[in-house]
Symmetry: C2
Subunit: 447 residues, 2 copies
């Protein structure tokens, strides 16, 4: 067992003291003295804390410092997998944050006996693994789902929205949803539409590197997400993830303007056609824009509107595509199509007949761009004007993924095409910028 | 005809002066005086410039200002499309560059009598519009197609490849293909595969802003493309476009590693998972990598391999997708599917049965990532391994668009799945990087 999970400077200190996990030890730090059983760290843990189980059953994380010393008091005692109660009580001055786990890499916990990755974390696990959390918030945690995010479905979005609503109605200061990264951007868009008049932040967080890797981003992302949920003045649905590839800060991205842009980098999530709303660094939330919905005391007008019509398809255009997949959507009774066209909002003229038929049959057809950045403008070329005349709805500067989620949400309300168009063109949750800001492109996105 | 294309404040000024397009007018601005014929604007134009054709034949854009005044000098004169002859002859020490026009904004020329945009440029037009070209190369120009690039098809890729081959066999120093920007990246990938053992550069170029706009990028892009075609030591298929939003330099991007990432910015084209091959600035080609195919004297082993199988479809995955569109591709006799999955290469488990059936029916299924950056790795999670076991081919770090073009090219050779897999996993034209370079992400891509 030895010093499982410890690394870096803290590992050196423990090795020098000749102690092992399970030993009873004494830690002195300045005038403070702690006694207890040395606990293992999960690979999620940082390299700056010693975790002790105190005699009262609580786990604490002790940050290492110059004046810290470690002394062995007794030999190995078996650590029962009994978990401590939540170390702090509600109402002790810290914000109250609910953590809803849905699965994914961030929610994985290595079983120290078998090495297997179990799919979810309890609040107790979280405090044990990331002791800093106990300084940030009173945490209430629950496992809602245990699924890989590539298997997400609109019905789970509704489930998450309802669970978030329960906590909002109970008065929490913020909610963190742990989620796999693959479809994190779709889910954050879905809850952005589903949670109306939000009084507090709802923070999606994931992890790009699994918890058994030293380079895991899980701990910092989770700490930043809980910090944002507890303290941020921004009451929106956001994604909090690494802001650059190092461990310096996280960004909070608006839930409708963000996508996963790298398969493996820790800063895979990027705001598109927008700047991040805030930077979270060393426990501080630095707001980067004045354009946000503020936190509010009153929860009276908050409500959930979490119906999604699943009969919507996303079709990306390409040279040589045919209209037959559009026809198939019509034949199969779909209600809407989001086209991921080229450039300003084009598809090949040889699929126009299929699009015309789709609109005539009552399907809502929304145009977005596979460029990702920029804005649909179908008035520039005659082919675009022809599509507009057919009834294709320009998706403005919405991401294709966000437009898909929004169309599912709109079609669950109405299938009247005039009303669908009005709602698609109305900014509901920051998904449409009033004007294109050209500087929000690639690296040039933050002030 | 009146004031076609003018709008906003500039329209008010011209209306107040009682002038119309085709009139001879005088514009005073501070101490400056301009005389010429008022030109129409295309609808692409902004609302801040008056465009005059001066007596020397050049068009200028005059930004409106508080102290600007307009005066009518003479009535409408018909503007003749008279153009100067080609100024230089072959063999005067300048490289010989063929310009093949296929359509798109860069090849558009406003007909000042009708306001219509005519779709192509002759060599004479080019010299007239961009006089600097005559100092760079002896140009031979022809119009191959006049189509908007959103209407491109694999058969046109084959046509372009064959036309390029004709010029290569005739001994040109380089080829420029003018092309609409919407599907420029697909075409550059197609020719990257179709032109084997290329002895000289084949340069795709487009324009994000039409040539009657003061902000047009057409001239600088064309000059840079001809410079690269004539001088570059890199004998590959590339796209040359603005490197940043100003008019300072262009980048040459490898044809298989580039995509349009903004609907309207001039630096819309970006290398993905790669750095640009070269910078073209003030007539100089600065090579940025040592990893390229060099220009060669011998043309003996050059050949064209320009068959593409059109029975290939690109399907982007999303939460709630169903397998029925994959089933439809099987039922309709498609030969291949490129999946644009999530993250490291995942699709929902609820479409696995359809994928299994597709492979069993003999379709080639290639996995790419909607992240765009990074590399497919289906060995990390059990769901990925399951897809691999079914026979899904991991697309490495290929762009989905490039993987689509490559699969069309591979399936035109063989439908033996083992051989298809071997070819998809073989780097043919720089489309697969031997190792992932994490720094090629967003703004951090160039040395």
């Amino acid at each position: 067992m030895s010093l499982q999970g410890y690394r870096g400077r803290v590992l050196e200190i423990l090795e020098a003291a000749g102690v092992a996990v399970g030993d009873r030890i004494r830690v002195r730090k300045g005038s403070q003295v702690f006694e207890g059983v040395l606990m293992p760290r999960s690979e999620l843990g940082d390299d700056r804390h010693i975790v002790l189980k105190l005699d009262d059953g609580y786990n604490i994380g002790i940050a290492i410092s110059e004046d810290l010393s470690v002394e062995k008091l007794g030999a190995f005692v078996e650590i029962k997998p009994q978990l401590p109660p939540i170390p702090i009580k509600k109402g002790e001055g810290l914000p109250h944050v609910a953590i809803v786990s849905t699965g994914g890499t961030i929610a994985s916990r290595v079983d120290y006996r078998t090495g297997a990755v179990s799919p979810a974390l309890t609040a107790q696990d979280l405090y044990s693994v990331v002791p800093e959390l106990s300084n940030i918030a009173y945490i209430e945690a629950e496992v809602l789902y245990s699924i890989f995010s590539e298997n997400m479905k609109p019905e789970y979005w509704a489930g998450m929205a309802k669970r978030a609503a329960k906590y909002i109605e109970e008065g929490v200061d913020g909610i963190v949803v742990t989620h796999g990264t693959d479809t994190l951007g779709y889910s954050s868009a879905a809850l952005s539409f589903a949670l109306r008049n939000l009084p507090c932040p709802v923070v999606f967080v994931g992890s790009q590197r699994s918890s058994d890797r030293p380079s895991s981003d899980a701990a910092m992302n989770l700490v930043s997400a809980v910090t944002f949920a507890g303290k941020s003045p921004i009451a929106e649905v956001v994604i909090v993830m690494h802001g650059e590839s190092g461990d310096t800060y996280c960004y909070a991205h608006r839930g409708t303007k963000v996508r996963k842009c790298h398969t493996s980098r820790r800063d895979a999530f990027r705001s598109i056609n927008a700047q991040p709303l805030a930077r979270v660094k060393e426990g501080v939330v630095e707001v980067l824009t004045s354009n946000y919905s503020p936190r509010r005391e009153s929860r009276d007008d908050f409500y959930v509107d979490a119906k999604f019509d699943e009969k919507v398809i996303l079709i990306k255009s390409f040279p040589g595509m045919t209209g037959e997949f559009i026809d198939h959507a019509v034949d199969k009774g779909y209600h809407g199509i989001v086209l991921e066209g080229t450039g300003l909002g084009h598809v090949p003229v040889y699929v126009f007949d299929s699009i015309k038929r789709a609109v005539e049959e009552g399907l809502a057809v929304v145009m977005t761009s596979q460029c990702l950045w920029g804005r649909i403008n179908m008035n520039v070329y005659s082919t675009g004007r022809e599509l507009l005349a057919m009834g294709v709805i320009p998706g403005e500067d919405m991401l294709p993924e966000t437009a898909l989620v929004k169309l599912m949400w709109v079609l669950a309300k109405t299938q009247d095409l005039k009303e669908v168009k009005r709602l698609i063109l109305t900014n509901i949750a920051g998904e449409i910028s009033p004007r294109t800001c050209y500087s929000y492109y690639f690296g040039g996105e933050v002030e």
